[in-house]
């Protein structure tokens, strides 16, 4: 990876506003002048707490990250107030590229964060977008108005049946693919879900791009923490083509913990 022009150290930014998307998820807006593409992520420094990878969920002049509270770092992020400061390093990694005309976007839960800006950009240049958005329950959905504005068809699934299709989003996608075909599928969510979508994409002969998560430390491809079969999610990903994913033995099966141990997903 050839070195970039600017130094890899956190830029301190001020939080402008915070939007509560649902009981567990907040979007944090800040001003920063980097240029990012949908699917890229930043390393977010919460001083004295942690530095964690977050997809850029708003790419305009006002940048945004959309954070689901799952642990120490994310709960600290969710407690921040406008005017507080965080550090931003990046953007890093590969991104989604909508090359075909008809797109099937598949998101699981917070996996919508990198896909929403992709949908907006693609919609603005006239792409036809069908969205399949799955969550455990109705209360875990987010961005619904934003997504309505840029999709031709918005399909929702919930594991508990509280809204839309009752079941997993992968089952919903299987149904959709029986009726329609697409030029490509773009996907982000829990890896087990991505694996199912990758299998469906392969079965139907549709090219896939999907974004993976691994434990990140350096974020620049040298510490080997986010390694998956010789690829590094921080620089070779997070967005991988279906073709590469099909060559990764660990995909859908194993991840690495913070020690580098190979553990089941």
């Amino acid at each position: 990876m050839p070195k970039k022009d600017n130094l890899e150290l956190p830029r301190i930014v001020k939080i402008l506003d915070i939007v509560e998307e649902n009981p567990d998820v907040k979007t944090i807006f800040f001003e920063d002048d980097f240029e990012a593409y949908p699917g890229q992520f930043v390393m977010v420094w919460i001083p004295s707490v942690d530095e964690v990878p977050m997809s850029v969920s708003y790419l305009g002049e006002k940048k945004g990250i959309t954070v689901k509270n799952v642990g120490k770092a994310t709960s600290s992020l969710c407690k921040l107030k406008p005017g507080d400061k965080i550090g931003i390093r990046g953007p890093h990694g590969t991104f989604f590229e909508a090359t075909g005309d008809s797109l099937l976007v598949v998101a699981g839960g917070i996996g919508i964060a990198p896909l929403a800006p992709l949908m907006e950009n693609a919609h603005n240049i006239g792409k036809q977008i069908t969205l399949a958005f799955g969550a455990k329950s109705k209360s875990e959905l987010l961005f619904i108005n934003r997504l309505k504005g840029c999709s031709r068809e918005l399909n929702i699934s919930t594991d508990d049946g509280s809204l839309g299709f009752h079941g997993f989003v992968s089952d919903l996608v299987e149904d959709i693919l029986k009726k329609q075909s697409f030029d490509e599928i773009l996907c982000c969510g829990p890896e087990i879900m991505i694996k199912k979508i990758a299998d469906l994409a392969k079965l139907n002969g549709i090219p896939l791009q999907a974004s993976l998560e691994r434990y990140m430390k350096c974020g620049v491809g040298i510490c080997d923490s986010c390694a998956i079969d010789g690829f590094h999610v921080c620089i070779d990903g997070p967005v991988f083509s279906g073709k590469i994913l099909s060559e990764l033995a660990d995909f859908g099966r194993f991840r690495r913990d913070a020690c580098g141990r190979r553990v089941e997903l």
Binding site: P10, K217, D229
Partner: protein
């Protein structure tokens, strides 16, 4: 100008105790070495050998993030020796052993007994040599805290030497007042060679937050800024000992590698260079070394080793 026959005879192979290297570039410990597949990639990219991540007895998460920050002339890391532990590491290292290049097993322990256990295990995995990490500057109770004490260096090296057949290299810290003295302790313990240098104890402060950036506050500086210090260390070690030395610190080009070789290194390691130049750095550095040797009529690496030493 026609290429003369001599030019074609340039040979960049090099040998060290227990190591026959097709070229003098080696992947440094802790860069891309946590997983077997990444080590394989570095081998395919043209490195003459690879060093594993430093491995300890138990799985270890290392320090919390931020663990990495860049400065004007280098990078500072405080990974804190994360590693899956020696038992889990077996699967990683076994996939590359017996392929085309030597694998050097880096280990770290809290005392001679831990080093002994780790050395024996690594040897069983089939590594070609061991590298004792007595030099990590940011992991409490490990690394440099031992490597700063020449008695400890002597003891640990002796114990490991007595426990294994493969050659034992000791990786030294530059954060000492007299590095040659520590190298002499390795020689007294009949260690097979020295690797120098590990990172230089360092920090970066964010003035907006008024806080150190790294979670551990202190980390280790590597990259271009430390090359002059690494060179000086090799030069001082070579002046005092007969041990073969592997030079490491800030190597980004063939010329950097040749500086190290002329200071006394028989081979070099590249770590941060992977960040600055990508994994292609190994073949690039080899090509540049070859070009330099061609242009200056050197035929072997050996001819250049230590020729800058005065007296």
């Amino acid at each position: 100008m026609p290429i003369s026959d001599c030019d074609k005879m340039v040979d960049i192979a090099t040998t060290l105790p227990g190591l026959k290297l097709k070229n003098p570039t080696i992947l440094a410990a802790g860069i891309l070495g946590e997983t077997g597949a990444s080590l394989e990639n570095v081998a395919k990219a043209g490195a003459g050998a690879v060093v594993t991540k430093s491995i300890g007895i138990e799985p270890r998460e290392g320090h919390g993030n931020p663990t990495f920050v860049e400065t004007e002339h280098g990078i500072i890391n405080a990974m804190g020796l994360p590693n899956p532990g020696i038992d889990n590491y077996k699967d990683e290292v076994e996939s590359i052993i017996g392929t085309n290049i030597p694998v050097i097993g880096s280990i770290f322990g809290a005392d001679a007994q831990e080093f002994e256990i780790l050395a024996v295990e690594m040897e069983k995995f089939g590594v070609s040599a061991l590298e004792l990490n007595l030099s990590c500057p940011h992991a409490k109770g490990y690394g440099a805290i031992l490597g700063h004490d020449k008695e400890k260096v002597l003891e640990i090296t002796k114990v490991v030497k007595g426990a294994v057949k493969v050659p034992v290299y000791v990786k030294l810290s530059p954060n000492v007042s007299n590095i040659a003295e520590i190298a002499c302790a390795v020689e007294d313990a009949e260690g097979d060679g020295i690797v120098a240098i590990n990172t230089i104890s360092a920090m970066a402060i964010d003035i907006d937050m008024a806080l150190p950036i790294l979670s551990n506050a202190i980390g280790g500086l590597s990259g271009p800024g430390i090359k002059p210090i690494g060179l000086r260390c090799i030069y001082e070690i070579k002046a005092e000992t007969e041990l073969p030395v592997i030079g490491v610190g800030g190597i980004l080009s063939g010329n950097d590698a040749i500086e190290y070789i002329m200071a006394g290194a028989s081979a070099v390691q590249i770590g941060s260079g992977v960040y600055y130049k990508g994994i292609g750095i190994f073949s690039k550095v080899c090509q540049q070394i070859q070009e330099f040797m061609d242009a200056h009529s050197y035929k072997t690496i050996k001819e250049m080793v230590g020729i800058a030493q005065k007296g």
